[in-house]
Amino acid sequence: MIKRKPLKRPSFLSRNALLIIGLVLVGIMSLSAVLAPWLTPYHPSHLNVDNLLQPPSTAHIMGTDALGRDVFTRVLHGGRVSLWVGFVAVGISSCIGLILGLVAGYFGKLVDEIIMRGVDVMLCFPSFFLILAVIAFLEPSLTNIMVVIGLTSWMGVARLIRAETLSLRERDFVQAAKAAGASPMRIIFNHILPNALAPVLVSATLGVAGAILVESSLSFLGLGVQPPDASWGNMLTEGKEVLGVAWWLSFFPGMAILVTVLGYNLLGESLRDLLDPRLRQ
């Protein structure tokens, strides 16, 4: 029998706990990526033939790979790749989404119709299919990956901003600006944009997590960051080859992905709760 209990809103502390955990995880992963060259005595592609596939020890806390490279060092350097891809890809997709959403929401009518049907079409594609199709024809390079991920993930932001713009457009301060003779550009960028940024912040934070996952999947398939450069995805590919012999090669890079994605998700979700007054009642 289910006991009846009044619906209780979680205390502010417990809601902020998620935010704090998220911040800490993101902070640790970002710092370790930025400071990677100073955190370990090894070079990420330094080969050491006397030290192949060593299990974790005090000298190599995450062991060594099939070429004798230090796994910990490579995980740190892989973090730089992930961080970079996450931020640039999300920067690109947020810019596209922002502009299209603002334009669609502000001008409405035919412009809105065209842009939103474009969003519908893009949302129909399994984005991983699209990304693969394009990446395979380009050289698999970091720049290409970031651009392609950015170009295939702007639809959510566009929808959010359009909805936000639609309601802001009718507000008094926008009407006043219009009456004062402000140009559409000025209204959109000076009056609407600053008020519509909150949801973008949330979706950008969650987007970083998504982009990192896509990058590691691509690298895992061999279409992302190319060896000898380290990325969590391609380290897992190497780990798969020696799965039965060296578990540490598969375990740590995956753990790094998990922790990073978890951090950004926690951060994004708790920002959403904080910024959305509907949930805060």
Binding site: R4, S14, F128, L132, F137, L138, P253, L262
Partner: protein
Amino acid sequence: MWVAVVFFGITVISFWVIHLAPGSPTDLVTTLNPQADTDARARFEKLYGLDQPLYVQYGRWLVRLSKFDFGESISGDRRPVWDKIKERLPLTFGMNVASMILTLLVAVPLGVASAWWRGGAFDRTTTVIVFIGFAMPGFWLALLLMLWLGIQWPILPISGLTSLNFASMSPLEKTWDLTKHLILPIFIYTAGSWAGMSRFMRSSMLEVLRQDYIMTAKAKGLSSRVVLFRHAMRNALMPVITILGLSVPSLIGGSVIIESIFALPGLGQLFYGAVMARDYPLIMGSLVLGAVLTLLGNLLADVGYGLADPRIRFSGREA
């Protein structure tokens, strides 16, 4: 009308995304092949109509597509694209449906229970697990499970669809063999979607539990069970139907990774191979098919929504 416009958009993107990218399908057999000269390249391009302007190629492709003809694959066996897709589709489709059902079976009860005991120990524990599940990269989980259940404690096969002696098995053994090979992949699919779904179910349920009619139902003195299952859950399930439709593209996209890890001959593996071989017709065919399946998923979700919600059933569609 909307469907026609979106479908047209799908063909536009499927076609241009590949044709605008640098490189050509003839590269692999010509430029990269020292024995082929420019003459051979020209002949090759003529054979597949690649010497025509892009809009002519697009027009031709569209005309054939309208007759349900996806063209012939230009790499390897040169078989019709549709035949190749058709033999791969059941596996990917079956795994997706199985994992969707499993996802619902796991996520709905979890979400409902979390919302009902909101803020309690159960809710907090599930929230933590959900966040971890949500951040778990599917291919990593797959590797760990392969290591654990395939190598260290070998009870499940980790690659392929059937065992080597499949042909000599009885029908019952064959079924069991197939099931054993599919347990891990389906589990990975499910692991990728249950977390988001249960989170969604929870917030949908919380939204419903705040409504006045729940208060009314409780005030009438109905038992918790009736309030929960008859009044709250039915309404909270509505948005889940939509999400189920929206999750189709990520399931299809995920098939590339999962099928490549477990060496399963499905749509994802076919697409990956097509991309690597620059097989234009096959890539375009798979893109169109993937997008159309998503479109169908969304339409089905709309229909299901209408069937499940009397307000829509009786009053016609609203935005």
